[in-house]
Amino acid sequence: MKDTKEDSEFTFYSEVKSSRKMQKEKILDESFKKAERSKGIKAEDKKGITKKQPFLKLGIFFIIIAVIALVIINFLPWFFIRYDAEYGTIQEFYYKDFKNKDDSYYQSLENIFDSQCTNYTINSNNFIGISKDDFFKGPKISSNAFYVLILSGLIFTIISIIDYLRHYSKIIISIIHSLFATTGVVIGTFIILSNLKFLSVHFIIFFNKAFIETSGATNIRFIFFAPLFLIIISIAIVLISVITININLRELDKKRKSRITSLDK
């Protein structure tokens, strides 16, 4: 009986086995980590191999915003004017190419933009800074700038699609991203500056009120709808592009630092 009791105490040494297994695993892990370090691969980078690259949407943003801007240029009134003439108060919306609903404009309105009074000593015949020509040239310049933006957006979207399928290096894509963002900054700034002359009219009207009233129109009020919206859109383009450049810079800097810290470990 005693023997049988003692017999049952002989057991498989599972604990030792498991501890040995654990030891083996530990050795494996350590050596694996060592190998990784010597190769410069970090755990995060390894995830990146299997992880799908994010689809960059800057190109799509450019295209959408440019299409909206083109709609604004073509269908939104370029300015609204309200003034008191001899025959009553006139208020009208004018679209691009200086066209209103009836396709006609009053003489007094023409006098506001291109004054016929030349009996002053120094001043020109222009009192508010813009002429009728600006409503022909301005929309064309802005439209062309937005077409260029659409083109750059399309090119960038195609590059993004190719990258999504073929998984290019993150560094190259970040540099391309920054390049297109730079294009956005340049185009946005150009559109802002080409439409600013319309906004500056408000200041000129305030200062040159007495001279403008000699044209026969008093109490003039202007609202430049399309230029105002175009400037807002362009500011958005510039801001987003600058933020994109900044994000890319930080991301690349982080990536570079993480690569170096992986070497230190």
Partner: protein, 335 residues
């Protein structure tokens, strides 16, 4: 100041230069520049903005407008150069294409010429306006002339670009020094890595990383050469096999084992070459020898309940009698 800080500060300065240039361009076309006293039908001051000045019949006003146009162009050049420098900084911070990044950062140094030119033209516009008796600078606020505000903008741009140039020059000198240093120390780098010496400069680490990868590639090539030699040897063995047959069975089995091992190692090499992930088994330095059971049959490990001695046994039946080799305790093991 560290090299990374130099590049980061230059980035910040570039942002400021771009921002100030855009502000300058906006201010130029938004607000009126000059005023002229009219004494004819209306006896008041007529105010001119840039667009009005361009369309004016007066020669003096036209000249000022042309000068302001030149300022416009130089501010645009500042924006474009600043953006080029930003791209350079982006490339530089990526750690790859360092030379290209450095070149683009150097191109940004042209900003100093552009800012000097802007400042010069601004000053001449300022003096031109002051020289004319009939033309006066526009006062946006009492005692603050508009052209003076713009002049301050171009002065700040000039200071920023000057600091930028200084930073880039320091950065360039540092880079040249590091390149020369790395060229001298290339032969000692492997020793440094073995001893785990702390690396102080981040860009030095980049150079070291490259060196390590170069060494790895070299090692790979050596491994490939070795595997080629093994293949050749194998071919020779196969040829000799065809001609002479060994009379001993053991030898044959030994050869087969060697063949199997070589085929296995070849397969492993192929897998490791294809993937970046290193197979775990390849990097075990030493597996403890006592893990392998030398006994034949089904190897088991048993622990003595008395002396806690662990010893290997060979299982042949369901119930086996065991005697502890250390203390001599006997018993049976049931499974």
């Amino acid at each position: 100041m560290e090299r990374r800080d130099l590049v980061k500060n230059s980035q910040r300065l570039t942002f400021w230069i771009i921002l100030l240039s855009i502000v300058g361009l906006v201010l130029i076309s938004l607000f009126p520049w000059i005023s002229i006293s009219e004494m004819d039908e209306v006896k008041e001051d007529l105010v001119f903005n840039l667009e009005m000045m361009k369309k004016s019949d007066n020669q003096a006003i036209n000249d000022i407008a042309r000068q302001i146009e030149i300022i416009n162009v130089s501010l645009w050049s500042l924006i474009i150069l600043g953006l080029i420098s930003l791209i350079g900084a982006t490339i530089h911070s990526s750690g790859k294409y360092l030379i290209m990044g450095q070149v683009l950062l150097m191109v940004g140094c042209v900003m100093i010429i552009s800012s000097i030119f802007t400042l010069h033209v601004h000053l001449s516009v300022y003096t031109n306006i002051e020289e004319h008796l009939i033309i006066s600078s526009m006062d946006l606020f009492p005692h603050i002339k508009y052209s003076f505000i713009l002049l301050i903008t171009s002065i700040v741009i000039f200071i920023c670009s000057a600091v930028y140039v200084v930073l880039i020059i320091f950065n360039l000198v540092d880079t040249i020094k590091n390149i020369l240093k790395s060229k001298i120390e290339t032969s000692h780098i492997p020793d440094q890595i073995e001893h785990n010496e702390p690396v102080t400069n981040i860009d030095d680490k980049d150079v070291e990383l490259k060196e390590i990868f170069r060494e790895k590639i070299k090692n790979k090539n050596v491994q490939k050469k070795e595997s080629r030699n093994i293949n050749q040897n194998m071919d020779n063995i196969n040829k000799s096999k065809g001609k002479t047959k060994s009379p001993f069975k053991d030898e044959k089995t030994h050869e087969n084992k060697v063949e199997e091992q070589i085929i296995k190692s070849k397969q492993d090499n192929k897998i490791s070459e294809k993937s970046d992930i290193i197979p775990k088994e390849k990097h075990i330095d030493k597996i403890p020898s006592n893990l392998e059971n030398p006994l034949k049959g089904i190897p088991l490990t048993v622990k003595c309940p008395r002396c806690r001695y662990v010893f290997p046994i060979e299982k042949t039946k369901k119930e086996i009698k065991i005697e502890c080799p250390k203390c001599g305790k006997t018993g049976t093991l049931k499974t």
